[in-house]
Structures are given as structure tokens and as C-alpha cells.
């Protein structure tokens, strides 16, 4: 039942993609709660009136994240939806070497099939990496951030310490938030404006 409903939704989106003609793919991986690798596949299209749509089409489970396997998945997905690879005009991944590698990375493999699919390294990831790089290179900044992280964990780690700290806090001061420079997983909530 769910499957049928989902199919109907995908059907409407596929029509949109096909009328737009050209599309590009967006891919990223994560591991889910059962420690399985999940790949998320989205497609970006531009309609005739220049409005941009990014459409999520599905999760795909994979055993490993070698570029070869990923490439097979991409081809498989495109085939399943009846999209031709020669209409692919862009690809965007995070900066991991298995996808961004210039010789056998996923982008190179797709680029071999369709050289017009321009590869773009996710801009948000890049900004983050740039700042992170800078912080790593300056010793005092690196040290500062390290101490900071430890300090916050120290307070938040034990419920007892946190309780002591809460007592000392002034009334309207906000809680401490953990600092995590190394996790550049950007998570978003998508909510609908009512």
C-alpha cells in the first residue's frame, strides 16, 4: 500500500524531471541506526520558468562505498527511473575521495560516461573545510578549540556536575551547547509553513 502511494508520488516527479530535459544528481552517504550504509539520491531540475527543484528519489543500501559500487548504484537508479545518462549535466557530492577522486572516483567514472556532467564539490562542505583547515594550522586557535571542547564535555558529561553548574548559573543564562568542529554533518529539519 505504502509502496503504491510512493510510486504514485515518484511518478508525478519523474514527469517533471523528464519535461525539464536536463537534470543533475546529488548524492551523499551516511550510516543508519543499524550501522548500514545508506545512500541518498536526489535530482535537481530547472523548470521552464527557471524555478529550481530538488527532488529526493530514494535511499539505497550498500555494503561498501567504493566508487565502483556507487557508480553501479547510480546507473541502476537512473535506469530504473528511465532517465538517460546523456541528459545528466551536473553532479554534486561531498568531498570524500571515493566520490571526488580524479581518476577512479565516482565523479570521474560518471564524467567518463558523460563529460558534460560538471562535478561540483558541495559548497557548504567546502566552507566548513576551509575554516577547519585554518583552525588546524594556527596553533593557538587549535589549542583554544581543543580546550573549549574538553571544557564543555567536562561540564556536561556527568549529571552531577551539570546540576552543580546549573545552580551557579544566573537565572536567564542559556545552557551550554556542545562544540563539534569535526563533525561536518549538516542536518536540517524540513518543516512546512502553515
Amino acid at each position: 500500500m505504502l509502496q503504491m502511494m510512493a510510486d504514485a508520488i515518484i511518478e508525478t516527479h519523474l514527469n517533471e524531471i523528464k519535461t525539464a530535459g536536463f537534470y543533475s544528481s546529488i548524492l551523499d552517504e551516511t550510516s543508519d541506526i543499524t550501522r548500514r550504509e545508506q545512500i541518498s539520491f536526489s535530482i535537481r531540475v530547472v523548470k521552464d520558468d527557471f524555478t529550481i527543484r530538488e527532488i529526493f528519489v530514494g535511499f539505497y543500501e550498500t555494503k561498501d562505498t567504493k566508487s565502483e559500487t556507487l557508480f553501479k548504484i547510480v546507473i541502476d537508479v537512473l535506469n530504473r527511473f528511465g532517465l538517460q545518462i546523456n541528459k545528466l549535466r551536473g553532479q554534486c557530492f561531498d568531498g570524500a575521495s571515493n566520490v571526488s577522486g580524479g581518476l577512479t572516483g565516482l565523479q570521474a567514472r560518471i564524467g567518463h560516461e558523460e563529460p558534460r556532467a560538471l562535478y561540483v564539490h558541495c559548497a557548504a562542505h567546502r566552507v566548513n573545510l576551509a575554516v577547519q583547515d585554518a583552525m588546524e594550522k594556527v596553533f593557538c586557535a587549535k589549542e583554544f578549540l581543543g580546550v573549549l571542547r574538553e571544557l564543555i564535555t567536562f561540564v556536561k558529561d556527568s549529571p552531577k556536575r551539570l546540576a552543580v553548574f546549573k545552580d551557579l548559573q544566573s537565572d536567564n543564562a542559556p545552557n551550554l551547547t556542545s562544540f563539534c568542529p569535526n563533525r561536518y554533518v549538516n542536518l536540517f529539519y524540513k518543516s512546512i509553513n502553515k
Binding site: F41, Q91, F188
Partner: protein, 359 residues
């Protein structure tokens, strides 16, 4: 159908500046907290040692100064991050925004030190921290000493200024470095072509663009070409577009301006199919993987600790229904229900009546 507008709440990347700010607001409480732990003496030795280390850090001026400097930097970067996560943006626009933030960081480098310093000094006085200090001069071992005296900072302000500049310089250079890649250069090239701007004194030739979008491949020993654009046509349409702009006295300085112009003058857009095709192609190139990351939050909501054994196809169906819930809500369910009932004999027996009635 009601259009779905996305209100994107950024979850993780913006936590950094928030984290720094909460620390600043809780500075005094933290100081008290650590001295409490040291005085109480009932926790284990390593915790006390740690607390003492943290306490000393908090007392020092440098920690406070860096905290304020970092807040200044991260605030600017995070403005950028929020912007980059929008779907409705294209890559050259993103690039411009990044460069703008980079410029503001450069400005911060040349002008902002005084403010940061004053703020840090003021804050430190209020909190009763130690005075700013220059680093202790280290004595160099004789075998390494070349005889020249080591550099010494005359004032603490100078020492901190060096630190401040070093951080900002690193951030700006690595930002520039990370974004001067091949794809970026090509896209800027194309944008210049579209808006008719000159590059190194001459206009971008149509051939550059057309040849990128031509694919040559060998099939049965014959070399074939697949073209997205006919060079002559593209040239003509672009020329026409620029002439129309000149005639109407409209100036465009970026791709976005062109899109806005076409929005108002849709007849011009349909007049120049090759030109609009190029624009659509450039807009098609994605700039972030945010949609993918967003789908992972959905994944985390659907596949939870208590619900972790569902099959991949079920997970997929659920996540599509969840993400595209705007379409799902207006979906016509009758044919789907019918199909569901007809799949199985038992279901037909049980539900046939209702299906009949509906028909």
C-alpha cells in the same frame, strides 16, 4: 495545490557560534563552578586536575580574547552557511556570496582588531581576569642559537594582534584556495559569456561554451558528436539578447539579473531558446548536497531504535511519502485502493462491496 515553502532550520553547522556564545555568557558561572570542584575535593584526582587546568585557562586573558575573536569570525561564516543551504540558488550566486563574506573577513582583519581588543579588555576587567601578558621568552639551546636575539613582543596587545591576524589570514586564504577550482572557473566563464562581460579585455567566445557541451564518442568505428548547442545559433541568440538589453536600457551584472529579466519578459525568453537553454543548464548544476543531508534527518526520524528492522523498500516508500508529503496529501487514493484490493483474493472478498459501491 498549496505550494510548500521550506523553512529550513539549520541544525548542526550553526551550533558552533551558539556554543561559543553560551560559553561567553556563562563565563562567570563556569569560573565559580570550577573553583567549587577544586575546593570540594570529593571528586577523584583526575577530575580535580582537569578542573584546575580549565580554571587557569578561564582566568587567563588569552582564552577570553580568543573566544571573542572566534565569535566574530564564526558569526560571519555562519551567515554564509545559512545562505548556502537554500535550494533556490545557483552556483555562481553561491560563489559571489562566499567571496563577499571573504571580503568582510578581510575587512575584519584590517579594521576589526581594535574592537575585538577593546571588547576583550573590557570583558576581562568585568570578570576580574588576569591582565594580558606577552609570552615568556624561551631560551634557545646553545647549539641552535644563531646569536641573534629572538623576536619579542613589546606589548601584550601586539602579541594578540599577531594571533588575530594569523587566524584571519588563514581563514581567508583557505577560503579563496578552496573555491578557485576548475568547475568554478568554468562556471564563471559561462556566466561572463551570458552577461556579456569581458574577460581579460576580450569577450568570452561562444565556441568555449559550445565545445564543453559537445560530446564526442566513437560508435562502430565512426566518430560521432552529440551537441547541446549549435555554436552559430548560440552566438546569434546571445547577441540578440545583449542587443535587446541595450535597446531597453537594462543592465545585467549577474546571472540572477538575467533570470529576473526573463521572469518579467517571458516572450523574450521563448524567442531565444538556445540562450535560455544555456541558462537552464547552468542553473541545473547543484551547489550543495543539502537535500541529501536533509533526507538523512528524515532517515533518522523513520528508522529509529525501536523500528530498525524494516526492509529497504518499506523504508524507501515511507521516506518518499514523508519528504514529499505535500504531494502525498493531495494524492488521489481511489485507484490505489482499488489496485490494492484487487491484488489478493481474500481482500477482494472482504472489500469488494465497498469497491463496487464507489464505482
Amino acid at each position: 495545490m498549496a505550494l510548500q515553502s521550506l523553512d529550513i532550520i539549520i541544525f548542526r553547522w550553526c551550533v558552533r557560534v551558539k556554543s561559543l556564545k553560551t560559553l561567553l555568557m556563562n563565563y562567570q558561572a563556569l569560573q565559580e563552578f570550577f573553583s567549587c570542584i577544586i575546593d570540594a575535593g570529593d571528586s577523584d584526582a583526575s577530575a580535580i586536575a582537569k578542573a584546575r587546568g580549565f580554571f587557569d585557562r578561564l582566568e587567563g586573558f588569552q582564552f577570553h580574547f580568543l573566544l571573542i575573536a572566534m565569535i566574530n569570525i564564526f558569526e560571519r561564516v555562519e551567515v554564509l552557511n545559512t545562505q548556502l543551504q537554500k535550494i533556490n540558488m545557483h552556483i555562481t550566486e553561491a560563489y559571489e556570496k562566499i567571496m563577499a563574506v571573504n571580503e568582510s573577513l578581510k575587512q575584519l582583519r584590517s579594521q576589526g582588531f581594535k574592537d575585538t581588543w577593546d571588547q576583550a579588555v573590557g570583558g576581562a576587567e568585568e570578570l576580574g581576569l588576569n591582565d594580558p601578558k606577552t609570552p615568556r621568552v624561551r631560551k634557545i639551546p646553545k647549539r641552535l642559537d644563531s646569536g641573534s636575539p629572538a623576536h619579542q613582543f613589546s606589548t601584550a596587545e601586539e602579541y594578540h594582534r599577531k594571533m588575530y591576524f594569523e587566524i584571519l589570514d588563514q581563514v581567508t586564504t583557505s577560503l579563496t584556495h578552496r573555491f578557485s577550482t576548475k568547475d568554478m572557473k568554468f562556471l564563471c566563464h559561462v556566466e561572463n559569456f551570458i552577461i556579456g562581460a569581458s574577460e581579460n579585455g576580450s569577450k568570452v567566445p561562444a565556441l568555449d561554451v559550445a565545445s564543453f557541451y559537445t560530446r564526442t564518442f566513437e560508435k562502430d568505428g565512426v566518430i560521432e558528436q552529440e551537441r547541446d548547442f549549435d555554436e552559430e545559433q548560440l552566438k546569434l541568440h546571445t547577441k540578440m539578447f545583449h542587443d535587446i538589453l541595450k535597446e531597453r536600457n537594462v543592465k545585467v551584472s549577474s546571472l540572477m539579473d538575467v533570470v529576473v529579466f526573463f521572469d518579467k519578459n517571458s516572450s523574450v525568453a521563448s524567442l531565444l531558446p538556445h540562450f535560455t537553454k544555456l541558462i537552464r543548464l547552468v542553473l541545473t548544476v547543484p551547489h550543495t548536497t543539502c537535500t541529501a543531508e536533509r533526507s538523512f534527518s528524515t532517515l533518522r526520524r523513520l528508522k529509529t531504535y525501536l523500528r530498525s528492522t524494516m526492509t529497504q523498500s518499506r523504508l524507501n516508500a515511507l521516506s518518499i511519502l514523508h519528504i514529499h508529503s505535500d504531494v502525498g496529501r493531495v494524492l488521489n487514493l481511489d485507484p490505489i485502493i482499488d489496485e490494492f484490493v484487487l491484488k489478493n483474493r481474500v481482500r477482494i472478498n472482504a472489500f469488494a462491496l465497498s469497491t463496487q459501491m464507489r464505482k
